[in-house]
Subunit: 338 residues, 2 copies
């Protein structure tokens, strides 16, 4: 079995090891339309299935990294994190993979261009930006596949945040995960919109990582998940090719519901929904019955991400007044509204 | 393929056919601890899996049946139902199975000893009582297995309402369903209590029958349901044998959640939960974390049925003020409280 260090050594073999002045990079957040849910390898973040996401354009993380002194410092949105905070420890553990000796420490400054409270996962864009900034700092000049693999070692879905637009993470089959990385798709969809309905920005009682693990280990319905993904991936690819919005929305919503269903059947149950989540889900279904082309997806949390097209933005926003609208392909209003 | 009429003819062959004065019988409502969810035969109500329920003692349906004149009349709780109401039509269609000629009509008076609005299914107890009353009226003198099969033809779960206490419906394998009927278990549990939390008594937007069918046909997770039931049945049997309340509660709650999970993954999704259902579910989980031995089960609707023991009735009722408490084995307070 390979360890993270083995993989890093293999990828960096023959590459630069002398850090330069600094590295700085941006990576977008991403929302999966076909979810990543379940690992076949906990250490290497190897997924049970492939997944497919859309990146959020200018919304993501910017990371600057320099050599530091004494101990790692991690600044997030202008605030220095305590060294024993869970995020700082996670970053330091990841940086351990790249130190040439124990005296090599880093100074990392991360800034999210997406409100942290908005409930979009920032670990994906954060680790993707970190990998790109390390590539610059050390002058590795890695290719997209290698960067994606390194990002995956930090956070599974980070491998998708290396790219803009629609991105597919190929699960791969190799035990060392060298064939498990993301690739961008050719399709674009300038009129696609994603609207965030924030139900709660409290920290989750169960982390995504823990919820995923418990589901794989205890949910009797999880066995059916891989075939659901195998059905949904070609559906989404076809929907993108044909720009068929209903096909895209239906598949994404159904995939998210099936993911949550696998959790609900875990023991103890993993229920990220709050009563207000369910109310919002029912509102989306009711709007659709009234003829509005709107669907939702949900990650391991209580918030909804609505999918609709530019022409319906007004109608959707009228029903969800606090909606934050994102244009993944950057046309028109592409910053978060609220 | 057998039709309902074939089955009835086979069971009644050589039995009395001359109706007497009247038939009158009571049958209890029942709540499944391991659910019946999915048919392998829509006509004969043959289930995909076995199921296991507890009957609700004195709460159920009492049916009196007599020969009538002109057309069937169906009285429910003292009110004559319009002949074209869905319940009256369903009853008449069922009675068609037993008419010797088209001039044979019936006068049926059904009374539920359980508030109809309370959300307990009354079709199970109703059809079970109807079968018993027909047996009296015609003087068939059928055995329990035969009565259970006839009840199943009216409503699947009615085959379990023939009996008090814990009851297992054996799915059977025969195409004609002659091995698909319910049998009572020997175990009792005088201290077991069931508490009804009424979230809504509105009619469901999707009937159980339709929700079940859509789940079987469209939910990718339904394929895993039979093995979930195969795990849970021996767990519940063992819990009853050992009177292990936590084992019983955990298995029943997990089974109900898995059933709802299969629906949530159907398309369009079948979501019987209301926001208030989810809030009550979370309240039960929180109480359990505080040390109270309480679990829930849910059927194809928004209401919760809490499971607890007699000693905890005060504590549970304090948290759910409108709780209606049932003692399935009739000890102590066994009528519905509200």
């Amino acid at each position: 079995m390979s360890s993270k260090l083995d993989i890093v050594a293999r990828i960096l073999s023959g590459r630069g090891t002398k850090p330069g002045e600094a590295g700085r990079a941006f990576a977008p957040a991403n929302i999966a339309l076909v979810k990543y849910w379940g690992k076949r390898d906990e250490e290497l973040n190897l997924p049970v299935t492939s997944s497919l996401s859309v990146s959020l354009g200018a919304l993501g993380s910017e990371v600057t990294i320099r050599r530091g002194h004494g101990a790692d410092t991690v600044i997030l949105n202008g605030e220095t994190l305590p060294a024993d905070s869970s995020f700082a420890r996670r970053v330091s553990a990841y940086l351990d993979l790249f130190r040439q000796d124990s005296s090599m420490v880093f100074h990392l400054d991360a800034r999210n261009t997406i409100p942290t409270a908005a409930g979009f996962a920032s670990s994906a864009s954060g680790f993707a930006a970190l990998v790109r900034s390390l590539d610059q700092l050390f002058g590795w000049d890695l290719d997209a596949r290698e960067l994606s693999i390194l990002a995956r070692l930090g956070s599974g879905s980070a491998c998708r945040s290396l790219f803009h637009g629609f991105v597919e993470w190929h699960a791969g089959e190799a035990e060392d995960g060298m064939d498990s990385y993301a690739k961008p798709l050719a399709e674009t969809w300038p009129d696609l919109r994603m609207g965030l309905v924030v139900i709660s920005s409290e920290e989750k009682a169960i982390s995504s990582r823990a919820g995923m693990k418990r589901t794989v280990e205890t949910s009797p319905l999880y066995t059916a998940w891989p075939s659901k993904v195998a059905e949904d991936l070609p559906e989404v690819r076809a929907a993108l090719r044909e720009r068929d919005f209903h096909r895209l929305g239906r598949t994404a919503e159904s995939n998210a519901l099936a993911m949550h269903a696998t959790m609900i059947a875990a023991w103890p149950p993993v229920i990220y929904w709050k009563p207000e989540s369910l109310a919002a889900m029912k509102r989306v279904a009711a709007l659709r019955e009234q003829g509005l082309a709107v669907y939702f997806t949900m990650d391991a949390g209580p918030n909804l991400k609505l999918l609709f097209e530019r022409k319906d933005e007004g109608a959707v926003a009228a029903e969800f007044p606090a909606l934050a609208v994102v244009a993944p392909f950057g046309e028109g209003r592409h910053a978060i509204d609220s």
